[in-house]
């Protein structure tokens, strides 16, 4: 299998996307952008490769299990519908879940190792005897509860190790602190320190190994997956498919990277494209009618105009102030002790219009507190804050030349239902209801998509960039390279 790679290193998350030579999506991956950009890129790329392999796996499973009498595989190609083993959940989904679980357990192992080292340091000497059993208890607990996180349909609040392990650790540490066995702050400090190290060390991941372990886990019939055991024949067949997929080489032919603060991007100069160009191009690929793009990311807002080929013709960003970008919502969520994803739905419940003028992130926080103190409802204030934010985006759009049909909204903020509702209203008021407004559930990948499209173009032009060395030398394990080779 041959592909090109696009990576979008954002301030919050890092995304990777693989395209085949024909421009079809082969796989996508996302991770949190942590303090090491190298690692974030390597992990996102690994995730995309993993996704690509699962896509192959799905295809193979459909072929191998579909024609088997007595099975109910639907083999519809997308959405994980291949090779149902016992009629309830697709085999590929079970494998994905078990794979994620194995990966999480590996990462927990790294975390345990690192915390173990930290506890040995002199600063913890006084508390060592209390900390050691406490940490063991917390991590044992995390390990034993891990299957509940991954197997079955249970929704996860996040897919990032940092968030999942952090939640488990905090919960365990609270229990221990309540018993008076060890202080909560000390335990949490250990986690905070260790997670940084674990996150910035390139994890060693072998797709083949993880997938084989996942297969065996399914073969044994893990409690909680609701599927029971695989028959001996099925298991043998599954092992063969897994080995085939794991051994299938994926050759990366070209690479382009983009992202914020690109001077520090760990990519070769000739492989870097402006995120503005990438977002415009990506949005145009998702919605070919696109002429205007609004992208609201973690730390800036871009208004982009593109032509019928997806080439950027004009753009506007604010140089002197980043008010009203995604971080604005993040800050408000923190102020209210809410999850970022809870803000929009809460604001939608507003019954009264509250006018908020400030789009300065810090002032908005102050305004929020003041209005709460005056007795106004959270949802009403939040609705006003969303509106203030989108008014600022409208001003930027006007500066860039206004909205042309079709209009595509991208970036993390487009997942917020209140933001999109307000934007739609403002577009209707200012540009008329005839404007088609596109929002794609995968819009977070638009930058990476644009980068991958540029990589394809480089490939055609004979100027394909090479993959950054960090990925080849330190980014993957020997096992993973062996799989790819």
């Amino acid at each position: 299998m041959k592909c090109v790679v696009g990576i979008d290193l954002g301030s919050t998350t890092t995304k990777a996307l693989l395209l085949t030579e024909d421009g079809e999506v082969l796989g996508r991956g996302i991770t949190n952008s942590r303090s090491s950009y190298d690692v974030a890129c390597a992990v996102a790329r690994e995730e995309a490769l993993t996704a690509a392999r699962f896509a192959m796996l799905e295809h193979q499973l459909a072929t191998s299990f579909h024609h088997d009498a007595g099975r109910t595989g639907n083999g519809n190609g997308t959405g994980g519908g291949s090779g149902d083993v016992n009629g309830s959940r697709p085999l590929e989904t079970l494998l994905q879940e078990a794979f994620r679980l194995e990966l999480y357990l590996d990462q927990l192992g790294h975390l345990r190792e690192r915390i173990g080292e930290l506890v040995e340091s002199p600063q913890h000497e006084e508390w060592r005897n209390a900390l050691e059993p406490a940490v063991a208890e917390i991590l044992d607990g995390a390990k034993s509860h891990a299957p509940e996180l991954f197997l079955g349909d249970a929704p996860r609040k996040s897919d990032f190790f940092r968030d999942l392990a952090g939640a488990a650790f905090v919960e365990g540490a609270e229990t221990i602190a309540e018993r008076g066995d060890a202080p909560f702050e000390r335990l949490l400090a250990l986690y905070d320190r260790a997670i940084l190290d674990v996150e910035t060390n390139l994890e060693t991941r072998s797709f083949a190994d993880l997938l084989r372990r996942a297969t065996e886990r399914i073969g044994e019939g893990t409690p909680g997956n609701g599927n029971g055991h695989l028959g001996t024949d099925d298991l043998a067949r599954l092992r063969r498919v897994v080995d085939t997929v794991a051994a299938e080489p994926i050759d990366e032919l070209a690479f382009v990277g983009t992202g914020y603060g690109r001077q520090t991007l760990p990519f070769p100069k000739e492989s870097i494209r402006s995120e503005i160009l990438c977002h415009g191009r990506g949005a145009h690929r998702f919605f070919p009618g696109t002429r205007t793009v609004l992208d609201i990311g973690g730390q800036d807002t871009k208004a982009i105009q593109v032509d019928e080929h997806g080439v950027v013709t004009s753009f506007q960003m604010n140089d002197r102030c980043a008010a009203g970008s995604g971080r604005y919502l993040g800050y408000l969520a923190d102020e209210l002790s809410l999850g970022l994803h809870e803000l929009g739905p809460l604001a939608l419940q507003a019954t009264r219009k509250v006018r908020v003028n400030s789009t300065c992130t810090v002032f908005a926080g102050a305004e929020l507190r003041e209005r709460l103190a005056l007795g106004e409802k959270r949802e009403d204030i939040l609705a006003g804050l969303h509106r203030a934010m989108m008014l600022r985006a409208m001003s930027l759009l006007a500066r860039s030349g206004g909205i042309e049909n079709e209009f595509t909204f991208t970036g993390g903020v487009c997942k917020n239902p209140m933001a999109t509702k307000v934007l739609r209203e403002l577009v209707d008021d200012n540009y008329g209801e005839a404007i088609t407004m596109n929002i794609h559930p995968d819009s977070i990948y638009m930058g990476a998509m644009g980068a991958a499209l540029f990589a394809l173009e480089d490939l055609d032009a004979g100027t394909a960039g090479l993959l950054p060395t960090f990925v080849q030398e330190g980014g993957t394990t020997e096992a993973a390279q062996e799989v790819r080779a």
Partner: protein, 449 residues
């Protein structure tokens, strides 16, 4: 608005620090060395002015009446140039802080605050000499409202007279005989008598004409330097390099023998580069591959001048024409000081500052530059606190895009307040813009698969 004319930063005609190519000619530094000497001598003259009994006039770059001052042996001080030089030397932040302490708002033109802060810090010139107090404040251009307020404040600080020349705005895009007459009348009735009073002598019109003739010669050579950028590759950068070239002519030296020689030398150096097919000098040495030809509107940022320049030069982008280098005279559209019509041509000079032109004129000028210099696109550096420039710039951007079909870029920074220069952001915009140009140069053929 103004020009750097200083040795504080490496001049574009200075040799690169490393990997210098074979020198073109031994005289290649002549113009640079001359400018440096001229500036040094001028500040020394200013320092000695009180003891030597010379009178000092503070004035602004746009619409400056340098020839009139030198005909009366008056020495000019240009606060805008001091401010931008302080910016380049890393002193402006402190000066601005001083001005803010005494009550000047964060949103005021940062040249003003830098100048006031410098005054409050002892009025030491950028070259380290003591600046004398003014005997007169000559406000010979009223197109910038901030200038009025600036000198109003300086009048309080120095307790000295102000002479004001009201310059009508070119609202209809042209200078009418009535406008010219109005300015000449003010020169005759108010400005010249005020200057004569300070100088203690009468204006000698013959001497004024001789000085204006020297101005005219230098102006001819400067225009030749600008137009060299029509050549491919351009031997000059008409913005980052250009601000050095306008040093003498926009400041204290127009109409001097030194300035005439400076422009003669500069023209010869540039023509030699052009003949040899060489590109412009940059902070990293000579530009070897001209990849983009740009037109730039708006003043540069001075606090990160070389960083800002490198964002262009390292991508092979050359500015072939700019409007900022015309704030002290639009010579390339035909204006010359005229020894036969001394006061009339001084009036026309004041009326013809770039920022005294209406928006349609400014758009037309940019459009003409884009065509004449065969540029790939244009970029606007918008400085919010400089209203003379920034008002209407977005409209200019749209109009130019529509008229020429060439891509425009828009960035925001400041003159001398380093707090308003976000390097990562600006670099992001500049690179995005240049990549956008590259996409356009490639043409529409692309795969959307």
């Amino acid at each position: 608005m103004t020009t750097p004319a200083t040795d504080a930063v490496k001049s574009p005609s200075a040799p690169p620090p490393e990997a210098a190519p074979t020198p073109i000619t031994p005289s290649k530094d002549a113009s640079q060395l001359r400018q440096k000497r001229m500036i040094g001598e001028h500040f020394e003259r200013l320092e000695r002015a009180p003891e030597e009994g010379n009178k000092v006039v503070y004035t602004f770059v746009p619409g400056n009446l340098t020839e009139l001052l030198s005909a009366l042996d008056l020495l000019p001080v240009l606060p805008e140039i001091n401010a931008l030089q302080s910016g380049m030397r890393g002193k402006s932040r402190g000066y601005i802080g001083e001005a803010e302490k005494s009550g000047h708002s964060e949103d005021v033109c940062t040249y003003v605050k830098c100048d006031l802060g410098m005054k409050k810090s002892g009025n030491i010139s950028p070259t380290g000499t003591q600046l004398p107090d003014p005997d007169l404040l000559l406000l010979s251009y009223t197109g910038c409202f901030t200038f009025l307020k600036w000198f109003e404040i300086l009048r309080e600080e120095y307790d000295c007279p102000v002479s004001m020349l009201h310059v009508p705005y070119q609202a209809d895009g042209k200078i009418t005989p009535e406008m010219r007459r109005y300015v000449v009348d003010q020169l005759e009735r108010d400005v010249i008598p005020a200057l004569e009073k300070i100088a203690g002598k009468s204006l000698d019109m013959d001497r004024l004409s001789e000085i204006l003739e020297l101005s005219r010669q230098a102006e001819d050579d400067l225009v030749a330097v600008w137009e060299s950028a029509k050549h491919k590759p351009s031997p000059i950068d008409g913005y980052f390099g250009g601000v050095y070239y306008v040093g003498p002519i926009f400041s204290a030296f127009r109409g001097t023998e030194d300035a005439r020689e400076y422009y003669r030398e500069l023209r010869a150096e540039v023509e030699e580069r052009m003949a040899a097919g060489r590109g412009p000098m940059t902070p990293d040495g000579e530009l070897t591959e001209e990849r983009y030809r740009l037109v730039v509107e708006g003043p540069p940022n001075w606090t990160s001048f070389n960083d800002f320049w490198r964002m262009f030069s390292r991508e092979g982008a050359v500015v072939v024409a700019s409007t900022y280098t015309k704030v002290g005279g639009l010579y390339d559209t035909g204006f010359r000081h005229d020894p036969d019509r001394p006061l009339e041509s001084l009036a026309e000079y004041c009326l013809n500052c770039y920022t005294n032109h209406c928006l349609p004129n400014r758009v037309s000028l940019l459009e003409q530059y884009l065509r004449d210099y065969e540029a790939d696109g244009f970029l606007i550096n918008s400085v919010k606190s400089c209203n003379s420039f920034s008002v209407g710039q977005l409209l200019m951007l749209r109009t130019l895009e529509e008229r020429t079909g060439l891509p425009g870029g828009f960035i925001e920074s400041d003159l001398v307040d380093p707090r308003y220069f976000g390097k990562a952001n600006i670099e992001n915009r500049v690179q995005s813009y240049l990549q956008m140009l590259a996409s356009h140069k490639k043409g529409p053929k692309r795969r959307s698969a």
